[in-house]
Amino acid sequence: MKRIHPAGLLSLLAVVALPLTACGTESTDVSSGSDGDARIMSVTAGDDSCEVSKAEAPAGTLRFNVHNAGDKVNEFYLVGEDGLQIVAEVENIGPGANSQLVVNAPAGSYFTACKPGMVGTSIRADFEVTASDEKVEISADEKEQIALAQKNYAAYVQDQSAQLLEKTTEFVQLYKDGKDDEARALYPVARTHWERIETVAESFGTLDPKMDAREADLQPGEKWTGWHRIEKDLWPQKAEDYTALTTAERATYADDLLANTTTLDGKIAALSYPVDAIARGSSGLLEEVATGKVTGEEEIWSETDLWDFQANVDGAKVAFAGVKPLVEAKDPALASTLQQRFDALQELLDAQRDGEGFRKYGELDKETVKELADAVNALSEPLSRLAGVVVP
């Protein structure tokens, strides 16, 4: 279902120059920079000490290379001015081990803190981040990661689109032939490929409403076509005074859906994706879940909402996995939080599996829906930061 302004993705494609070509050759490789780099600090954490090589750094991407010289497992934090807000942390640094805290810190006063033994009070020191206009250049590593993420994501979308076309072809034939049981069985399977790339499909503002509009989305006088029109005809039980479509009408709607799917597939072949658009696609798919699927509003007639839910999550996971190496370099805490919360959400979805698919939305009790909604919130909030973090 169309919920995102169609210009969203396309304008990004137009405006954001590809990072591969946008960067000069003078970039500083910050990930392997020397100790002379003002944004790189070394931290020696002991059982009673926490030595930081510098007490200030210019704003930007700061790297603390932490060495645990003590016998206790340690943690290292950057804490906000009020002494409470943890800006970034690395945990579980074993004796003798090294770890890196990477944080994009704006100018301000902070504390550095070690917590030997991981309990009790921490050993703190003042740390000042000074204002800076310098733009951090993109490292060669990062450029490579970006290029790989772009290539993989484009391939994924193309593959899903191809499968969508194949399954839709099969589906519309079954529907036209009056093989309704088989059509009903294939409906959520085919739509899985749509929902996995929904944010991309929606960026084509004229195609999306023709293919995925729900009855409630129409204005008076608008013609209703696409997946959900056929859905109602296949599951008319809940409809009032419903007149089944004739064979000729079926053919019209079926051919129209197939034609639009073919057009979509052709357009998708030509698309490429800036890395922040991939990230935005990931959070966009979760927004689709939050607004339509977890509420049971997407598949009113078939109640196959959880199939769509899973497919949105699949697509979001793939997009996240593509940019994950970038996130791990820039904000490792965010990367691990997102991974945990994707896993937690998947566990809840897995509990609702039924055979090859999922339980119908109407069979879910209130508690289950609330749990799913909570897990979607838990994931979506940090996911909304993803695009801003991966942007070069």
């Binding site: 906000g80 409470l84 838990a378 909030e381």
Partner: protein
């Protein structure tokens, strides 16, 4: 929010900016007790109860730290975080939601409480290693006759009470604290309230509830320091398992839906007999003025204050002198499916020990109070409210401090 800095006249508890106005009223977040209890009751409430969804003690503590930081800032009229609504990267969602930009603190207080589930969840699991510090009095409230509780409006592992004189300031506070908590906690229920139904300071006049009566005339007031020590604050030796709670209190919430339409059809005489006070002046039916002591013997065999009148049933004289600090609000959540006003009193009371200070009073009320015919209780919860926060500490820190188990 508005710039701070110039501090003018300080009232007993709060501070006004020099350019005085209701909006600029600020209460300190830190102190011996949490703000929002004896603080003069503000006009608006947003109250939220959470389920804790994590099993990680570290995540729970990290959340309490972030909440403390955000609450300390917002009560002083600032954004929830230093980057705030506009100061972060334009490529990231703003850290503060922004609807309180330009609004002042408006007397905002933010008060945190811990429910029984924090210590032992519904399955009896001790998720956070806190079970041996669970206060003996912090157990789910017993069933009171007539209660029609909805699980989705009842209980909670954590709660936050935000009170302010501007509803948008209270809602902004809860909205941002909820957002900060996502992934660690999930909202179980929340309640908006308006028109405080109690006075917590002798400087305030007694307001009216939606029955149209002055409510909470006999409430415990901030100025009654000795009474507060006796009835409100948990003492140092009260509970050896829960030394961390000393200086705190217990918070009871009851969502009391009023059967408004039926109430409105009662005669003035009957309404006054049910409550036990004159509707206009608030004076007891035994005579005098609003603050005149109640005389339960007046009238002899047919007492002036009927035996089932609300003020008699709940009066401290019949409950070993038990008093509570009431801090409730009226609520109207639109209308019901039947077209009735979905309204009532969101009852909030703070007590030193609910086993003596609240439960017996509620039991008497449920059984004997004529008013209960016009009330349906559909939400209920009990929380332990930790003591105030010292600078650099997070709320509830003593609960998590390492140390000997009792």
């Amino acid at each position: 929010m508005a710039a701070l800095g110039v501090v003018g006249a300080a009232t007993a508890l709060g501070t006004h900016d020099a350019e005085d106005g209701v909006g600029s009223l600020r209460y300190p977040f830190q102190g011996a007790h949490q703000a929002g209890i004896v603080t003069p009751a503000q006009d608006r409430l947003h109250f939220v109860a959470f389920d804790v969804t994590t099993d990680s003690r570290d995540d729970l503590i990290a959340l309490l730290m972030r909440w403390t930081s955000a609450a300390a800032r917002m009560t002083q009229g600032k954004d929830a975080t230093p980057a705030g609504a506009l100061g972060g990267s334009p490529m990231l969602p703003p850290e503060d939601t922004g609807e309180a930009l330009e609004l002042e603190a408006s007397g905002l207080t933010i008060t945190f409480g811990f429910g029984p589930g924090l210590f032992r969840d519904a399955e009896g699991r001790d998720r956070f290693g806190l079970a041996d510090r669970q206060p003996a009095a912090l157990q789910p409230l017993p069933h009171f006759s007539g209660d029609m509780l909805k699980p989705e409006l009842t209980g909670g592992d954590l709660c936050i009470q935000a009170c302010a004189n501007d509803p948008q300031v209270a809602v902004h506070a809860i909205r941002n604290l909820v957002r900060i908590g996502m992934g660690t906690v999930a909202v179980r229920w929340s309640q908006l309230g308006f028109g405080r139904t109690s006075t917590t300071s002798t400087a305030q006049s007694t307001p009216r509830n939606l029955f149209g009566f002055k409510d909470g005339t006999a409430n415990l007031k901030a100025e009654e320091t000795a009474a507060a020590e006796q009835h409100l604050w948990v003492g140092t030796g009260d509970d050896p398992r829960a030394a961390w709670l000393a200086g705190g209190s217990y918070l009871v919430t009851r969502r009391m839906s009023m059967v408004i339409e039926t109430w409105d059809r009662q005669s003035l005489y009957d309404q006054e007999q049910i409550i036990g006070r004159a509707k206009g002046s608030g004076a007891p039916l035994s005579g005098g003025e609003e603050f005149t002591d109640l005389d339960f013997r007046a009238g002899g065999a047919t007492p002036a204050i009927p035996v089932d009148a609300h003020v008699r049933v709940v009066h401290p004289d019949f409950h070993d002198g038990a008093r509570m600090l009431r801090r409730g609000y009226n609520f109207v959540d639109g209308s019901t499916d039947l077209g009735h006003l979905n309204a009532g009193l969101f009852f909030i009371a703070y007590v030193r020990d609910p086993r003596t200070g609240f439960i017996p009073v509620q039991q008497a009320m449920s059984r004997n109070d004529a008013m209960m015919e016009y009330v349906k209780v559909n939400g209920s919860a009990l929380f332990a409210v930790p003591p105030g926060v010292a600078p650099g500490e997070y709320v509830g820190q003593p609960l998590f401090a390492p140390g000997d188990s009792p």
